[in-house]
Subunit: 121 residues, 2 copies
DNA sequence: GAGTGTAGGTTCCTTTTGTGAACGGAGAAT
DNA sequence: ATTCTCCGTTCACAAAAGGAACCTACACTC
């Protein structure tokens, strides 16, 4: 993504101002990782390393997504330690309001994407 | 994406078999366009050109996504005309079950991503 | 029977994103 | 004084998306 502070009109920006609220929501979570980071927040995770271990996402992308989620107001960044400076990322109200969407996806995934054990022959 | 018939283990495939149903759902809709195609189906659209015009997506990506959604069983492809051969893409039950997720996103988008008129000065 | 239009793609090339591994810096622990 | 943990950043390369043109097949009209 890397479009922090790049004012070029892209498909992403077009989506963000689309007439349809679903499209505008997709401009926030329309990628592989963003909503999974939010899910991890719901599960109590709050630190960089926790997300990284949980998701197996590259550190680069995680860094970018966290920055973006904070900019968008979905997450809040709070120092939990000065010296060394460390931050936690926690859900704002805007972030918590993803709960119904996550529940919808959880139900869908449970029903339509059953786990297939890797054929223990 | 272009991973139709490419059996390489990628992050996408890992997600598809994740322990978490949300992650498995994201392996299906974790990109910019897929869920918007599904939304268009809910709105009654069913043909290639309709999706293309509605979304402004490149034909290439649209072609790929439709193929994938049919493979995954989210959409059904039916010939509505032989000679010339033409298809409609319509929701299966698996696809219709995205309704709660879409409603969740619609509500979130309405509440948290208000439309900003482009400053009609 | 040549030209125009429509539907549904595919091809080709460029730009944008993501991946993976390594590097860094600032304490904390041993 | 070295090692470890946390939170990133940098770099080189791979994958995906974007944009425009092209193709096939039929229908319509002149």
């Amino acid at each position: 993504m890397e479009r922090v502070s790049q004012p070029k009109a892209s498909k992403w920006d077009e989506l963000a101002t689309d007439w349809c609220p679903v499209a505008r929501a997709m401009s926030v979570i329309g990628d592989r990782w963003t909503l999974l980071i939010v899910r991890d927040c719901f599960l109590g995770k709050s630190r960089f390393e926790e997300f990284q271990k949980s998701l197996g996402i590259t550190r680069h992308v995680l860094s970018d997504r966290l920055k973006r989620l904070v900019e968008l107001g979905v997450l809040e960044r709070n120092a939990y330690s000065k010296r060394p400076l460390r931050y936690t990322y926690t859900l704002s109200e805007k972030g918590r309001d993803f709960a119904p969407t996550l529940i919808g996806l959880k139900d869908w995934g449970k029903k339509h994407m059953p786990i297939r054990k890797p054929a223990a022959v």
